[in-house]
């Protein structure tokens, strides 16, 4: 069966070039970079090069890069490592559409006495920057706002937000997991103090991530131990994965233009094609400010898990913000924060492309999805009611 993988915001395939450069570090090059002998020396050099490649992708200096185990670790380290430095300040600002790595942590901190302002978004998933300005107080310890939303692909104006936050002298963290590798980022140009991201969203393996910490930012480590990462994250460096991530970031930098042209073209073709072929379909999120690879669509009066399973039977891998797919009973907090009606939220499907997709993939989805929606609407009790009601008008 043909496989069409369009769930790249969940995870990506490891690029063959990445896997290739990692291999020697599992047998010949197994040294610990901290060791004084030559086995340590031979891996030390490669890890330095990898750090440079990672820094280059986001316009940072190598010494501002801290390797972590995943995006969640980066988010936790940034938020908790900042709060520890401002014990007198008990207020955090974030948004209602953050990834659980930030959202759940904020809820956790709220239970422990912090006041958390969750900024709202409009129907298109956009922030109101006046609400941010009004929320900042002398008691604010940190602002954490994601760069791009994992479910809708909507990007926030991080540059402008950075300036607002900086003008009040408050540390600013952004969860960049979905943005890095998909849109150009330059830490020299924007005022972000910390940015976290993850390897497995950019064709490196799972189990490696990065926390960028701008020079001069107050930070306390989450993992206390050895001197690794200049004391900002204890624990022996995960050399094979660091090398792999270095390669992945180098490739991502090369592919940025392709991502923003060919991938965007395929995404637009998919979106337009589905809107034309399937009636009562909505696009979730601001189409103007959006990652080039992501589209979230809602097919009214059907439920997302059913769509996903029928797609999966045809080899198509996508995801949904419906309640049933997550094991929780309520649809995605992101779509609810946007005020997407329940009729649409339960039937939301996210397609997230990568450079490994082809136009044939898109044609295949355009051919296979419409009959699936038609079949499920035939089973749905609300569809006929809706058709009846609209034909009376």
């Amino acid at each position: 069966m043909r496989t069409v993988y369009v769930d790249n915001n969940a995870t990506t395939q490891v690029a063959p070039e990445v896997f290739e450069v990692m291999k020697p570090f599992f047998h010949d090059l197994y040294g610990n970079p901290s060791s004084m002998h030559f086995k340590g020396g031979e891996v030390q050099k490669t890890s330095v090069e990898a750090r440079e490649k990672v820094a280059d992708l986001i316009g940072a200096s190598p010494d501002e890069i801290v390797f972590t185990s995943c995006g969640t670790e980066g988010d936790n380290a940034a938020i908790r490592g900042t709060l520890e430095n401002y014990p007198g300040k008990r207020h955090i600002i974030s948004t209602r559409v953050e990834h659980p790595a930030v959202w759940t942590l904020c809820k956790y901190l709220e239970k422990r006495g912090y006041r958390v302002t969750m900024l709202s978004v409009d129907r298109e998933g956009r922030l109101d920057l006046d609400e941010l300005r009004a929320a900042i107080s002398d008691n604010t310890a940190l602002v954490s706002i994601m760069y791009a939303n994992n479910e809708t692909g909507v990007t926030f104006p991080i540059e402008e937000i950075g300036q607002i936050v900086k003008s009040r002298g408050i540390p600013f963290h952004t969860d960049g997991v979905q943005a890095v590798g998909k849109i150009p980022l330059d830490m020299k140009r924007i005022t972000v103090d910390m940015l976290s991201f993850s390897g497995h969203k950019v064709h490196a393996p799972k189990g490696i991530g990065v926390l960028y910490i701008r020079r001069g930012t107050k930070f306390s480590p989450l993992l206390i131990g050895g001197h690794q990462e200049k004391g900002r994250r204890g624990g022996t460096e995960n050399i094979p994965y660091i090398v792999g991530l270095g390669k992945a970031c180098q490739l991502a930098a090369r592919h940025l233009e392709e991502e923003n042209n060919r991938v965007r073209f395929m995404r637009d073709k998919l979106e337009q094609g589905l809107l034309e072929r399937i009636p009562d379909t909505l696009v979730n999120g601001d189409r103007e400010h959006r990652l080039p690879n992501t589209v979230s669509l809602s097919f009214e009066y059907v439920e997302g898990e059913s769509i996903l399973l029928l797609l999966s039977n045809l080899g198509i891998c996508a995801s949904s913000g419906s309640a049933c797919t997550s094991g929780s009973l309520e649809p995605s907090h992101v779509l609810r924060a946007m005020g997407i009606p329940f009729t649409a939220a339960h039937g939301s499907i996210r397609f997230s492309l990568s450079i490994y997709n082809t136009e044939e993939d898109i044609d295949y989805i355009l051919e296979q999805l419409p009959p699936i929606i038609e079949k499920l609407r035939d089973i749905s009790p609300f569809w006929r009611d809706y058709i009846k009601a609209s034909s009376k008008q």
Binding site: Y301, V302, E303, G304, E305, S306, L309, L310, N313, S322, A323, C324, T325, G327, S328, L329, E330, P331, F342, T343, H346, D378, I379, S380, P381, F382, R384
Partner: protein, 280 residues
């Protein structure tokens, strides 16, 4: 990904009896778009007052569609009296089981059937007094009580899996806990299973009662899930002698289960010196 049985997948991909009956003898509708699943069940009776045609329409996930399809197959040819005996467990069993988090799909089937039968008889549904406990999903105390009783539920999490109640803002969790306590009231009040404080010695009678209780409440239900069982033969001091029944009697890992599970549970709930032996 959910671990659905082949039967669930089959009924999802090829649902039986989809549609709506024009001029039905009974029609029942439960759930809503907001809740994420809904089922409309309609049927027609033949001259012997047996259900001879039944159709469904469902909005929901794969297991909701499969449960509805299974329900229509189960009620076909039955009288109303026979049909109303169908429980949500019958629906789950027909499908070879459902993931626990999806049991509410089978409950939805049962609720729709009850509503359709009531409609057929011209009764007003839910004449009894009820109070909405879970505002997020609109679940009443009656529905929770029934699910707790019929499915032997003991935790809020289980109630959420079976009825959805408590799966939203979680504000009703204390009320759900109260309902569970009320249903199992008599049992929960007798603190038989409370291990006495350290140093306090159990009398022989107390020890034997505690062993029996632990076997009944903690151990046997778990063994029965895999088709196994055991019987208490004798208690001699701290030696508990049992006989293996069901699949346990020929299970190659029965020794392991006996030591790692049965004995461990008894040590946990009764006293540390308990050993378990199989009857010679």
């Amino acid at each position: 990904m959910w671990d659905y049985t082949e039967k669930v997948k089959d009924h999802f991909v090829n649902p039986r009896n989809v549609g709506e009956i024009d001029d039905p003898d009974g029609i029942g509708e439960v759930g809503s778009l907001a809740c994420g699943d809904a089922l409309r069940l309609s049927f027609k009776l033949d001259e012997d007052r047996r259900i001879n045609d039944v159709k469904f329409k469902t909005f929901g996930c794969a297991s909701a569609i499969a449960s509805s399809s299974a329900l229509t197959e189960l009620v076909k040819g039955k009288t109303l009296e026979q049909a109303e005996k169908i429980t949500n467990n019958d629906i789950a069993k027909y499908l070879g089981g459902l993931p626990e988090e999806k049991m509410h799909c089978s409950v939805m089937g049962r609720e729709a059937l009850a509503a359709a039968i009531a409609n057929c008889r011209g009764e007003e549904r839910e004449k009894e007094e009820f109070e909405i406990v879970c505002n997020c999903f609109g679940i009443s105390d009656r529905e929770i009580e029934r699910a707790v009783k019929e499915n032997n539920l003991h935790t809020v999490e289980q109630v959420t899996h079976y009825t959805k109640a408590g799966g939203g803002c979680e504000g009703c969790h204390p009320k759900i806990r109260d309902i569970i306590a009320k249903v199992w009231g008599e049992k929960e009040e007798t603190p038989v299973l409370a291990k006495p404080a350290k140093g306090k010695k159990l009398t022989n009678i107390q020890r034997m009662r505690l062993i029996e209780e632990t076997l009944e409440r903690e151990i046997k239900p778990a063994l029965r899930q895999d088709g196994g069982d055991l019987e208490l033969i004798d208690i001699e001091g701290s030696r508990v002698i049992v006989a293996l029944r069901g699949t346990c009697s020929f299970c190659p890992s029965a020794d392991f289960t006996l030591k790692q599970y049965v004995e461990a549970k008894l040590k946990e709930f009764v006293t540390d010196d308990i050993t378990v032996e199989v009857e010679e």
